[in-house]
Symmetry: C2
């Protein structure tokens, strides 16, 4: 299995593939391709290890609606242990965790934008179920549900909608940074930063893309990329699975409309989305019940169309250069005819 | 001029282009092209505003060796002021700063790897000179010297070697994170983290790519990308301009060898490099003399060949997945025949 290694300067963990390591002469990865419905590995999958399948409870013999399988090229494995250790001044551990693929539909449909609201709801319910499952493992600190759609977003097999769930034995640096920033705001104002963002954005309206009863989609004030969109739940909750419970249908409606606006308005671009839930935390050291950071964090999603590239200035500073103001992209997406 | 806006969650500044903003329908930037020596804008530049030119002091009528001009599409401007202000809960300021292009040679040569050691030395001396110039401005907090080589690295005009210098009115998040990590290590160990990394890497040798009298080039233990290389000065100094003084020739030798090994071994890939110097700091509030963080930071360079793409997992967690162990890429680069 791959190794996890920690950058000693900024504390970022990286995954170093060791077993399936490609030779240096063969470092450019050109293995992506369009799948054909006739031999699509997700339409006709018989080899993968099934972890979960959503079926009609009234008709358990009917085909599955959403299916979760083990990744064929896993970056995290459930066997072994975390095995944290040093290597001189460096820190490392084993990639003990989970790496699951969520096949979002039995049909050969590529973009989540083209699934029904009902089917998108099934996918989000599956995320909740799997994240809650991983929460029970005391060695797991985080679970990320995310999607790579299209070649530029890092997908290798194009054609059949799916997403991935990773459970990690360490806390990701990006989540740590968000928690830490939101905590500072909370300590100063005694209000949730995200709840305040929702209030201000609803009030001005200039960066709002879609609003449903329980969710608000905005292009962020300090967008890193053109057409970056955040989906914010209006009801405060730090944990995705707890926070989305009861609102899955509304979130599915939001995602269907948002992804359609992006698909139609931008000519079907590649995109990633990531669910930014709080890390798992033990309520007390003796028990197995988990709680997350209640007041000072607020789960949300980021949707990132992949139409630009970063250069040296971004790499050296962490700055980003966004060539279109988010107010313009929000208006453009609002005006797309769907 | 563009606006600087701050992400309220993680504190990252972004540059939002407002004036020259492209329309949303025209968001894919396809303006890069190969320059022809006959009409290369860097061979025959007469329009740009010259900021500095390095000439032979004995023959001031001879052509320049290195030339610094104002960027034609500046992201930072020296007119106006920082003008920090709020926008509801958000923070923003004007893009008061500098954006300079360093034309590295009068000849139409694309890759710094193909310049002479003497010419590379001239380029690094020019960086020092310009960074020291920007240090005098009390409104500037940082200066980044960096290079985009090749289309995948974000260069728009291919064919004539150049680099860029940005002076910024805010402290970049990436530098803040590095300073903060190095400080924690220093507080615990009372030793510089980078000096310790140099000791450990020299001792093991397995990640060393090139070593000169005063510099060590290694593939980092927790490499984010395949073939990422750091250049570390053996003499401790937090500030690039102060630290490199007297060692410019040795750094030029290091860079020539390193960039040649990358060019030949990897078939001339696109790459970025960034100089990670300490931020400017006022020694005392009354004076105009600057000092940087003396003990707990150590300037260095990152060289980042751009041969892979990041996907949703990296976007959501800040994790990176490196498909080749850095020990393998270091050995590969050491064995390239140059």
């Amino acid at each position: 299995m791959p190794e996890l290694r920690k950058d000693p300067i900024v504390g970022r963990w990286v995954i170093i593939a060791t077993e399936r390591a490609r030779r240096p002469g063969n470092f450019v990865d050109a293995t992506f391709h369009n799948t054909d419905p006739k031999d699509c590995p997700f339409c006709h999958d018989k080899d993968s290890k099934e972890i979960y399948a959503l079926r009609d409870p009234k008709d358990p013999q009917a085909p599955w609606k959403v299916r979760v399988v083990e990744s064929g090229t896993p970056l995290f494995s459930g066997t072994g242990s975390v095995h944290r250790r040093g290597h001189g001044l460096y820190d490392m551990c084993d990639s003990f965790g989970a790496h699951e693929v969520v096949i979002e539909t039995p049909e050969h449909i590529a973009n989540m934008a083209d699934l029904s609201v009902e089917q998108i709801k099934n996918v989000f319910e599956t995320y909740s179920l799997r994240i809650n499952h991983h929460k029970k493992n005391p060695d797991f600190q985080y679970a990320l549900a995310y999607k790579n759609y299209g070649k530029a977003a890092g997908s290798r097999l194009i054609g059949h909608a799916r997403s991935q769930i990773m459970a990690t034995p360490v806390n990701p640096i990006r989540v740590k940074d968000k928690i830490s920033g939101a905590k500072k705001y909370y300590e100063y104002h005694e209000r949730c930063l995200f709840c305040d963002i929702i209030r201000q954005e609803k009030n001005s309206g200039e960066r709002v893309v879609v609003e449903t009863q329980h969710f608000l989609a905005v292009t962020p004030f300090a967008s890193r990329f053109p057409f970056e969109v955040w989906v914010l739940p209006k009801v405060h909750a730090c944990d995705f699975a707890e926070g989305v419970a009861g609102y899955e249908n509304d979130l599915a409606k939001m995602m269907k409309e948002l992804l359609l606006r992006i698909k139609i308005g931008m000519d079907d671009p590649a995109y990633n989305y990531v669910i930014q839930t709080a890390p798992f935390r033990l309520e007390n050291s003796g028990g197995l019940k988990y709680r997350t950071i209640e007041q000072d964090y607020h789960w949300h999603m980021e949707i990132l169309p992949r139409i630009s590239r970063v250069a040296g200035f971004e790499k050296g500073t962490g700055f980003y250069i966004c060539p279109i103001p988010p107010e313009n992209t929000a208006r453009f997406l609002r005006e797309v005819k769907i």
